[in-house]
Symmetry: C3
Subunit: 507 residues, 3 copies
């Protein structure tokens, strides 16, 4: 393409001028330490991007990637290693991990690969690229529910119906409410902002930039998006930047609770909200500034004195004496025996990260029937549950006595049972409304009593369980999205059934 050629020519000139300027501008950072190990391609990237997108260049300059070569990383003692590869391709090994090192990998797989200023660049660096150095993490992640987060919601007809019912634009047609199919953009901003979108390359397009004039870039669908199950143009699943944002690749950010708090939120899955109200959250908020969120391994009592999300769910955690309390994992469900998030009841964790394969006895793609019977063949068994409970208790045991910890888990088990009971009660009222013809079960999510039923399990039962699991947030459990709401809601369902029944009888 002609304009590209011109740009490339312009680039050669630019590069000489700008690179010299830029080296000068922050010579203390790039030159002194990194220069000998920085690839010429990355130097070219930096020369322009220091001017065009300086924020991400500075972010990268603050990262470990800009200061360490894979060869250095791989030599560290095993518990201190952040690089899990047994060996690193020789052409990458001795250079710091710069723009080009990541954005040029596996070009044959990347439909988003394009010629940019004379270089072949992928727009999106994917988990498949990251696994060049971090294969263990990518493998763990690939088996998790997170990696399958798109199909788990969009290829499950029940959940898909819920999504469409909520996010489609409603019009008024002759006094009646009609629902459009949700737009791709609104899906990208709501459910799929967390779950991830499918990024495809529609072709190339011209973009007018503020500083470089017109450039030609791949035309991506559903972009930007950084959902955990994003389907990338190279076919891989996931988005590492969801938790290690942009070009700092920070373990600190991922370990702080705000990262998980972008998606695990009130009202459906208020993990972050109840954490903040818990004793652990209180100690974190009061004392975090004294802790070390960058240490690998992470030493309980020294680096971190009260858990954040990552402490319990995925970090490599050791005692001050060096013994391992928990191995690192990027399958975030792997220490969990029960799935608190009720669909529509809380149930044992699924065996596979791909939950769209589940069928319950009623033939529905749900892990539990409407009356609470689990689809056991798709869920982990008692032995595996016990193994995982024991692994989680080892984390608790870093600070708490066995009896205390046992008492905590007994409370959680009771909470699960009672909130499941409260969900069952709501389901029985819903069924009554269907059987009496008061509401129509075709779509179980679009009428008033149905909406109350959804709140019972999706908001209230779930909220109470998360609060219970985090040993805190009593006001959440009592009033805010808790027992008060569970109780009121049942009464409101009962009243609404009675009212609609009476009105219809009088017709």
């Amino acid at each position: 393409m002609k304009s590209t050629a011109i740009k490339t020519g312009m680039f050669s000139f630019f590069m000489v001028v700008l690179f010299l300027t830029s080296l000068n501008a922050s010579e203390d950072k790039i030159d002194k330490k990194a220069e000998p190990n920085i690839s010429t391609q990355t130097q070219a990237c930096l020369a322009c991007h220091k001017i065009y997108t300086p924020g991400i260049v500075e972010d990268w300059l603050s990262s470990r990637h800009s200061k360490t070569t894979p060869a250095e990383g791989i030599k560290k003692p095993v518990f201190q290693r952040r690089v899990s590869a047994a060996e690193i391709p020789v052409e990458l090994s001795e250079k710091i991990v710069g723009c080009y090192e990541c954005h040029s990998l596996n070009p044959e797989k990347h439909k988003d690969n394009f010629t940019h200023m004379g270089y072949k660049i992928n727009v999106i660096a994917s988990p498949n690229d990251c696994q060049t150095c971090h294969p263990a993490e990518v493998k763990q992640y690939s088996d998790s529910k997170k990696a399958h987060a798109i199909k788990n919601i969009m290829e499950n007809p029940v959940y898909h119906t819920l999504v469409s019912t909520i996010t489609g634009v409603k019009k008024i047609d002759n006094n009646r409410i009609t629902t459009d199919k949700p737009s791709d953009i609104t899906l990208n901003e709501t459910c799929l902002a967390c779950h991830g979108t499918k990024i495809e390359v529609k072709g190339m397009k011209k973009v007018m930039t503020a500083k470089m004039g017109e450039i030609t870039v791949p035309d991506l669908t559903n972009w930007p998006n950084q959902g955990v199950g994003r389907e990338n143009p190279d076919g891989s699943l996931g988005s590492c930047t969801a938790c290690h944002p942009r070009h700092g690749f920070s373990i600190e950010v991922a370990r702080k609770p705000y990262t998980c708090g972008q998606c695990h939120l009130e009202p459906d899955v208020p993990a972050f909200n109840v954490y903040k109200e818990s004793k652990h959250g209180n100690i974190y908020a009061s004392k975090y500034y004294e802790w070390d969120f960058n240490a690998v391994p992470w030493t309980i009592g020294k680096d971190v004195k009260a858990p954040t999300c990552a402490t319990c769910h995925n970090s490599l955690l050791v005692s001050p004496d060096g013994s391992v309390l928990a191995e690192r994992t990027h399958d975030f469900g792997s220490r969990l025996w029960v799935r608190l998030f009720g669909l529509v009841y809380s149930h044992p964790q699924p065996k596979s990260g791909n939950t769209s394969i589940i069928k319950n006895k009623d033939g529905l793609p749900l892990p539990v029937t409407f009356t609470g019977e689990p689809a056991s063949e798709y869920l982990i068994d008692k032995t595996e549950q016990d193994r995982r409970i024991a692994s989680m208790k080892r984390v608790c045991g870093g600070c708490h006595s066995t009896d205390w910890t046992n008492g905590h888990f007994e409370k959680l088990a009771n909470t699960i049972k009672e909130t499941n009971d409260m969900t069952l009660s709501a389901t029985l009222l819903l069924v009554e409304s269907w059987e009496k013809g008061i509401e129509d079960k075709t779509n179980p999510f679009d009428e008033a009593i149905e909406q109350l039923w959804v709140k019972q399990w999706l908001f209230y039962s779930n909220s109470i369980r998360y609060a219970s699991a985090m040993t805190g947030a009593p006001d959440y459990q009592a009033f805010k999205l808790g027992w008060w709401e569970l109780t009121n809601n049942l009464k409101n369902m009962r009243d609404m059934i009675d009212l609609k029944e009476k009105i219809s009888k009088k017709r």
Copy 2:
């Protein structure tokens, strides 16, 4: 007044004793550096107030005002200047900016000027006083919606009706609900706490103090208040302390998101809430402690790596190479092309900060008609919108590619359209209820279906837009005050109309 004279006499004695004591008490702070430049009047203020209100004296001692003279401030390179005046009155120029320097300005304009311990003091330092050194900021602010925030709500009959409907005390009279006129105090604590009150001087009054006995001070109406549009006793509009609190005059505090978060909050304008759940908010919360919130200019990537409210909306923002990404402004709408806050639909920004002058085609003082047609002559045109979009995109471009940024703005445009559609659907149902005589349109805010309609635009549509604009908070958009609520609410409006209709037909 006799007692004042006595006090003044007492003061002379006090001053000698206390001033010596006080200088001694914190000599390290006042003496060493500041003493040569501190006015004798301010020394007198400090001598007493160190004892009577030590907290604000310490606050001031931590401020730049206590350490710098205007003459020093005015000499700085242009991008580092915090003083925008071309020249400073000579009597102020060489003294640090102390109590008396601010609280004695323009006494002829200040109805709140009074004799206090022998000095003529204004109770309230106003924007008109601040502009002695900061005229550019005050001018920008004076043209903004914030400066006109009182009349924008109280002199608009529609909004005023909403205010009165909500905040008036309701009594039960013969089983019916009656609504009193809202009290001035409750207005001051609710709407006008943010919008600002009108401060007038009723006269003088005696106040019994804990340490000084009885003193005589101006008797102010609607005081205390620090709302952004406060009408001051000198006739000026605004309250700088709303964002630069009390006597620290901190740029750091103003740039941190908690300041904006005092007013821009759930459920009507949840900017702060969605920011906290966004990627930007996550990075801020995780890494802010490494950034410099006092630097002028503010360098992206160095001083600040993810935006706070001020980054996008008003700070002077530069690249590490010194090029300007955005000029400083204290007209907080000046980088905005669209007003997300729907009244009752989202619409282009108004031309004037005074929105009480707007009239739409229906003759109502609203920027949009009930069916969504904008009152275009009062709103900025396409050219101005494009200019402002470009200015905002330059800020985004500090870190993001042009294509990414364009994708973000496309998402926002779609969100505005779809949430406007969802508001229109609610409006059509409301109109149906009015036409059928189910509810009465005289006051459009005081009946049950009307209240649901208000929620549709004021809470739910607005919330989704703010979340979309900040490229985050997907759970907010999906469930919490988002699409789930928009959808349920329409169904509830529909059911309520049907129910009330059926009941009334059976009479």
Copy 3:
């Protein structure tokens, strides 16, 4: 018990091996400073617990207890003392405050005392134990509402009915909702998580530990729990760890707002929520990192520039010149004249921390009648109210002028009056529904109109008052749980009464 004897034997062997190891492992901390003063018993505790629960050992190592002997603490100047005892038992005086020093006290009172590895240990260290060194704090606390928090809710028939109505599991029996008695566990996770549980010793039980095999420990009821009114196995009331968590015994944590924020939360008592939205909360969040939360006494303007909860409610607060603004108290209501929390109206503070003794004119155990008349003989009188208002104003006076402070308190008084009026209006509607037989007053909390009435006082009126008291959170007062909800709720109560009445008339 035989197995205990065996364990004790094992322990002797373990101790020699482990203690030597452990000393080596963190010799820098224990040895250098603390060793000479550390008791042999505590050394034995640490030897094992460094391995079994390292987190709490590290927490203790960071505490003042691990570094100071009571003899040193008692010698400090009076305002700097954290130890209020006039003298300390000689056997404790010269040793740092380690595991054994606290967990072995008053064994004759502790039903939870047991032989653990050869030592007689109490599972729970109680306020009665803490008062060995901190008698003034325990005495103040013992007189407070917090110490009586269990009986204040569970022995008051009205509140107990509310608790049972909310937290009991509901079943559907023949289409009707039935309510079970709440389980002890759910009470422990909801109301009693904050209020406290009654901990009793049922006997001994065997517990299988991960690292030590089976051990025998007391079998405690309702454990774990750290509620403020916890009834301990030694008969004492309270849980110091509720605010000074676990083994850091931190004054910093207790002074930061997150601690109070574990229980004083949205929607019934949103003190923490409104604080965060207030000007004080904004300044705290922006600048806390520069303040000293460990200083005793706490100097306004130097150590702390904007109040946290503890500043106004209980810390020893001084001016930079050393004069006392407020004495330390651990009776958290002692600076309060009014009880904002309406039951069902806001009223003067009760005289006794035990509120279960109150009877109003209607014979109900409530501080106010249903129509708003206070049970004055149980409440503090005007003189005492004025004394407390003056004490709180002295705190405000650390930064604010007398006139400003007076203006603030006038606003609060008006808010209390108007929210009480709005509660009365809801009560009148409730009474109408009872008198018309629409709902049944037997249980005033379990039907739909009753539930709306509860929201009026428990959520909305209370929220507005907390926001007003903290001079902020205007959006809270206006929309979120504020006047908008108060107003809508009355309308909804009115509509529901009318609707139910019409429906029943048509039967």
